[in-house]
């Protein structure tokens, strides 16, 4: 069956629903052919009260019926429906998703923050001109959402760090809405509030980065561009002076007037000041003379990802590289043994690649294995004993941009079980869905024997050659050292591999010839 030439993506944002329709072409970037938006503020209620009301659900459904008509213009019956923080934080999100499905047949997927940022970053990478050149220098990317903001740092063409802060424009404005009535110097209070959280961020961000570029993006950035007299749809570079003019305008103008005089929807008008304060703070902090404002939306990112997955579209930057870099940064932050980790990574990937014939896993699983290896010892930062369960919690509470919730759980479980002799009775294992259980078992089995190959943390094994047949896995290794400890450890850890793959692994030392 031929693939549908159009993709419909519905983004359930905090302030608006947006349907974008993209036209896809083999090996090319998808082209946006239609974009409609319906302003509908339900995020404020979720952030304030923690749930979505029946009336709001009904309104959702009505809007979605309108979108269905629009989709029919492109003979599309299904849409990718993505919901973010305003759904995530609703206590009744499962009911909400189910009711929407029952009433409209649209299946909403609530993505976590890491996935959301992954799509945003992807959109920026593809839409920001010269992105690859820009990140050669220290670059701050600030994703300003309604619910939270995400600061991501690149340097020397590498992903360095990413941190989420609950400083989204809508959230801040909702949190402080009471204050607006109580004080006449609301702006100063707002600035103090934002400064305090940004200070926390600066305390954990990587040091020694010399920022040369600043990229800001997010839902309200378009209006900032409009206020600066620029096109909201296209990329632009705003000099600090241009930005400060807009900032002054926002300080001087009431949000209600902004809606009237500058054609900014009133829902967005009140959120522009928090957004502008954030940009100003970052401009001050980095000392830069301007900010890149690309046009990039969540839907763009989702479309590019789908095109990368299914249409052979080559992304400007391999998203795996960022994920691996992020994992290494976390491992470093928790003082993992870098040499050991790299050694185990080498062994694990070699085993994975040698056994492709029978393990039935692909590149995504290989990536998960790699991340699991990089992070398998982070729990030791807290305590050397029972570090598996500590690693599990660290991984599950750390954002890995590019992994979804399930994939993160897989990585965390691998770290939890690789050192644990009894895995099958562990409740964290028994609760896993059966297909996840299988994946966790396979990856853990590989991780276990790979880890055993450097049990002493001394990287005694220099190189290996692996022979995999239908009933055996023979790892021949070269080493100038005594491998008794590693051989013992390997023997201890190989049982799971035998059980999972039905193949008995063995480690053989190939002495160097004199």
């Amino acid at each position: 069956m031929s693939k549908d030439p159009f993709i419909a993506i519905i983004d359930f944002g905090s302030l608006a629903l947006r349907l974008k329709i993209f036209e896809t072409f083999p090996n090319r970037k998808p082209k946006e052919v239609e974009s409609v938006r319906t302003y509908f503020s339900f995020g404020a209620k979720t952030y304030r009260d923690g749930y979505v009301t029946a009336e709001q659900i009904a309104e959702f459904c009505e809007i979605l019926e309108g979108y269905r008509l629009k989709m029919k213009e492109y003979a599309l019956a299904k849409a990718v429906c993505i919901a973010t923080s305003s759904f995530r934080e609703a206590r009744n999100k499962d009911f909400l998703v189910e009711q929407i499905r029952l009433r409209t047949d649209f299946k909403v997927v609530v993505i976590d923050n890491a996935q959301e940022r992954y799509y945003h970053n992807l959109a920026v990478k593809e839409n920001q001109p010269d992105f690859v050149d820009i990140i050669r220098n220290g670059t701050m990317m600030l994703d300003i959402g309604a619910g939270s903001i995400q600061a991501t740092v690149y340097d020397k063409s590498e992903f360095i760090f990413s941190q989420n802060m609950l400083l989204g424009s809508l959230r801040v404005s909702e949190l402080l809405s009471d204050l607006e009535r109580k004080t006449t110097h609301y702006t100063e209070v707002l600035e103090e509030f934002i400064s305090q959280d940004l200070d926390d961020y600066h305390s954990v961000e990587p040091k020694g980065i010399s920022y040369k570029e600043f990229i800001a993006f997010g839902g309200d950035i378009g209006f900032i561009k409009t206020l600066a007299g620029l096109s909201s749809r296209a990329y632009c570079f705003l000099t600090k002076k241009q930005f400060l003019d807009v900032y002054d305008l926002l300080l001087r103008t009431k949000s209600t007037d902004l809606a009237l005089t500058h054609n900014v929807p009133s829902l967005n008008a009140s959120l522009l000041l928090p957004t502008a304060i954030l940009i100003k703070k970052m401009l001050d902090y980095t000392g830069l003379d301007g900010v890149h404002l690309p046009a990039a939306s969540l839907s763009d990112g989702v479309a590019y990802h789908l095109a990368y997955d299914s249409w052979g579209f080559q992304l400007k930057q391999d998203p795996e590289l960022d994920l691996i870099a992020a994992a290494r940064h976390i491992a470093k932050r928790y003082r993992s043994d870098k040499k050991h980790t790299e050694n185990v990574e080498k062994h694990a990937l070699a085993i994975f690649d040698a056994c492709v014939k029978y393990h039935g896993m692909g590149s995504q699983e290989r990536l998960l294995l790699r991340i699991a290896v990089i992070l398998h010892e982070v729990g030791k930062y807290i305590h050397v004993s029972k570090h598996g369960s500590r690693s599990y919690h660290i991984i599950n509470t750390t954002e890995l941009i590019g992994l979804n919730e399930n994939e993160r759980e897989v990585v965390a479980c691998c770290a939890r079980f690789y050192a644990k002799p009894i895995m099958f009775s562990d409740r964290f294992y028994t609760y896993l869905p059966s297909d996840t259980k299988m994946l966790v078992s396979k990856l853990t089995a590989i991780l276990r024997i790979a880890d055993a190959m450097d049990a002493s943390h001394r990287q005694k094994i220099r190189s290996t050659s692996i022979t995999a047949t239908t009933d055996s896995l023979t790892i021949c290794c070269d080493s100038a050292y005594d491998l008794t400890f590693e051989e013992w450890a390997f023997d201890q850890k190989r049982e799971l591999y035998s059980q999972v793959f039905g193949v008995a692994p063995s480690l053989r030392l190939r002495r160097p010839t004199k």
Partner: protein, 743 residues
């Protein structure tokens, strides 16, 4: 009217007045009153009916148009002023007149115009028609044979469809429909008490022998009865025949007197869109309510019996000053029927028939999409035919590559090929969205019918944005091609109406330009209720952007003029009323910008006033076609920006309607638009030039070349069509002669 409606009306009119030209200081030195300016416009049409250079039947038609226009002016504009008067709204308009003063002047002006209309009718047209063997006669002027024929017509055709309505204590005065001719009868009961068929016709008051009744002159039969007389063809208004035979309807009484009368009612709809759950139903209801609108004018025959007149005015509660005594047949719109009925038999008395030419920018109407994709194409109606628009939609409806069709419909003809195509497209599985403007004045019922028909055919019908009429003229066809999605557009200055396309001058552009297409998609999305886009690539829509854009463009010309650069504005439209734009034009004039305006109808700008507007010239063209296109030209330092639009420079267009303006970018299309402006500005035959005192005058032709712009444009379109035909013939392959024939 109930109190709720009264309240709504109060709010509405108060609100409406305040939004028009808000912030503009009243000043009679600077502005003309819009209503008086409109009456001037109608006088210009009346002038055409008096102009003996026109063929006789064309003059008859012009008089009919004058009468019909005046009717509509009363039931809409005067009605609106009367509403304001009723709520004691007495702010001054931009020309400094209060509502009372406006109504007073309208009344005086109308009476003099009507006197001229009827003198044109009785002293000029009727005798001229007679000279050509066409008579419009009263019943009593008929010879015996013709009278017998008229009587027979009465008995066989009219009598069965007449309904006399008596008035008495138990039967109140009947509802008199707006704009329909009625006969009133005053009779006296015979003392012998003879039984009769007028049993219901009883005295006005107990003990009084006077009887009153009305009957509506039927509209289901033609207004004129045609018969042959010894001198040729004669027409008798049927009300004359009915009156002559009225005794047959009222036997047993003595007819004391009879008279003709017609009322006009307020036809302004009072729609509360915010409260209306179903706009279609609400408008259906309001159209029905129109028949109960307040009476604002009564026309009676000049010689009506004084008792009868008093009876009617009392019964209808009409103020004496709203009575118009007419010295001829009431309601001259019957002249249009006369024209269309006999024109074909008297070609010498009509303009040479005009056949819209094949559009010169199209190679036939096959493969519309290929042609439009290759380059933009312009069609100038009615010089060129409407066929490309119909073909565009027809091909879109059939083409398997077409995914969706979207169109705005404001006024559609009765048997519209456009509607047929949209319905067919929906049946062929295309996604069809039609925005039907239910509030198009006097087309409400027609549009409700189309809306229902389209919905039944499976189209997605929407009614636009609450509180705003959608007046833009746009069609979007989305097509999936090998290279991806491509959007094809038709954008125009006039309605998608194949009938008016033969009479109204309008310009339409077909394009497949990507930025236009994306704007079109977003424009329709906005109309469907999705949020408006933050900015537009090419379109400039009203109400949010258009007015500011015009002001900016005018200011740009002012800046250029002040810097000593050439600055020039040409604008062609139907009406110029907006105070802010007029003010900006005055500033531009003072700065030295050359401004040429072609304004067919109302113009509130006072041109040629030293120190205010000496650089502004205003002309109005009235000819066989109704000037309808809106063209705007700004010199812009030589960039020469040309725009076409559905909007006039009126607050209603710029502030309360969804309108569209778009640039003309293709060089060939631009050249054609400039050609139209150039020819119209050079018109010496059909243009009337506005003076500083508000009057219009024609040019003194001495020493000037006679140019009738509409005739010139007809000639150009014919020449272009012929050239195209020759080109086509040249391209036709002729089979070579067979070898055996070769010598």
């Amino acid at each position: 009217m109930n109190s709720k409606n009264e309240k709504k009306k109060t709010q509405k009119n108060g609100g409406k007045k305040q939004t028009d030209n808000v912030g503009i200081e009243s000043n009679s030195e600077r502005f003309f009153n819009r209503e008086l300016s409109w009456l001037e416009f109608n006088d210009r049409i009346l002038f055409e009916s008096r102009d003996t250079k026109h063929p006789l039947l064309e003059r008859v038609k012009f008089l009919s148009i004058t009468a019909s226009n005046l009717d509509e002016f009363y039931i809409v504009r005067v009605a609106s002023l009367r509403d304001m008067q009723s709520i004691q709204y007495n702010e001054r308009d931009i020309s400094g007149l209060t509502v009372d003063e406006q109504l007073e002047r309208i009344d005086a002006k109308t009476r003099s115009s009507m006197a001229l209309m009827y003198s044109t009718y009785t002293r000029s047209l009727v005798p001229s028609l007679h000279a050509h063997g066409i008579d419009i006669l009263d019943y009593h002027q008929l010879d015996k044979k013709s009278r017998a024929s008229a009587d027979r017509y009465f008995m066989t055709t009219l009598y069965p469809i007449l309904t006399p309505m008596a008035v008495d204590a138990s039967r109140p005065f009947p509802l008199i429909y707006s704009r329909q001719l009625n006969i009133c009868v005053l009779a006296g009961r015979r003392s012998d008490g003879e039984n009769s068929s007028t049993e219901g016709l009883i005295s006005e008051e107990d003990g009084d022998d006077l009887l009153f009744a009305t009957l509506q002159v039927p509209t289901v039969v033609p207004r004129l009865f045609e018969c042959r007389t010894s001198s040729g063809l004669a027409f008798v208004p049927i009300e004359q025949i009915i009156r002559a035979n009225i005794h047959l309807l009222f036997t047993g009484v003595d007819i004391i007197s009879t008279g003709f009368f017609r009322v006009m009612r307020n036809a302004d709809l009072d729609i509360d869109e915010d409260e209306a759950e179903d706009l279609l139903k609400e408008i259906e209801e309001q159209v029905r309510m129109r028949r109960y609108g307040e009476i604002i004018r009564l026309e009676v025959n000049e010689d009506m019996d004084i008792h009868l007149l008093k009876y009617i005015t009392d019964a209808l509660e009409i103020n004496r000053k709203d009575i118009f005594c007419v010295t001829g047949p009431i309601d001259l719109t019957f002249l249009m029927r006369l024209y269309s009925g006999i024109a074909k038999n008297y070609p010498a008395l009509c303009d040479t028939p005009h056949m819209p030419q094949k559009p010169s920018m199209f190679d036939g109407t096959d493969n519309m999409f290929d042609q439009i994709r290759a380059k933009d194409r312009l069609v100038h109606l009615p010089y060129e035919s409407f066929d490309p628009v119909a073909a565009f939609l027809d091909q879109a409806a059939r083409d398997p590559k077409v995914l969706a069709i979207k169109q705005t419909l404001y006024r559609v003809s009765k048997a519209s090929p456009i509607i047929e195509s949209l319905a067919m497209a929906a049946q062929n599985g295309k996604q069809v969205m039609a925005l039907v403007e239910l509030k198009a004045r006097f087309d409400e019922e027609n549009n409700i019918n189309w809306a229902k028909k389209l919905e039944n055919a499976g189209c997605h019908v929407i009614y636009g944005l609450v509180g705003l009429k959608t007046h833009s003229k746009i069609t979007l066809v989305v097509r999936q091609e090998e290279a991806g999605i491509r959007r094809y557009l038709h954008l125009g200055t006039g309605n998608y109406n194949n009938i008016t396309a033969k009479i109204y001058t309008d310009i339409g552009v077909f394009t497949a330009s990507e930025p236009f297409g994306v704007d079109a998609s977003e424009f329709f999305n906005m109309l469907s209720g999705f949020s408006q886009p933050p900015e537009w690539r090419r379109f400039i829509p009203a109400p949010l952007w258009l007015k500011d854009f015009f002001i900016q463009k005018i200011h740009k010309e002012i800046k250029n003029a002040k810097e000593g650069k050439k600055a020039h504005i040409i604008a062609k439209m139907n009406a110029l009323v907006d105070g802010k734009i007029i003010d900006a034009l005055y500033d531009a004039s003072s700065a030295g910008v050359r401004i040429e305006l072609i304004v067919r109808g109302i113009c509130c700008l006072r041109p040629g006033v030293p120190g205010l507007s000496e650089n502004i010239k205003v002309c109005s063209i009235t000819g066989r076609f109704l000037e309808h296109s809106r063209i705007f030209y700004f010199f812009n330092e030589g960039a020469e920006d040309i725009y076409l639009s559905s909007a006039d420079w009126m607050p209603r267009n710029l502030d309360r309607r969804v309108e569209l303006m778009f640039p003309v970018e293709d060089e060939a299309c631009r050249a054609r638009v400039m050609e139209v402006l150039d020819i119209e500005l050079k018109d010496t035959m059909r243009s009337h030039w506005l003076c500083a005192d508000g009057t219009y005058h024609k040019l003194d032709l001495r020493g000037k070349k006679k140019i009738d712009s509409q005739i010139e444009l007809i000639r150009i379109s014919e020449d272009a069509a012929k050239a195209k035909e020759r080109e086509r013939e040249y391209k036709v392959f002729v089979p070579a002669e067979p070898p055996e024939d070769r010598q």
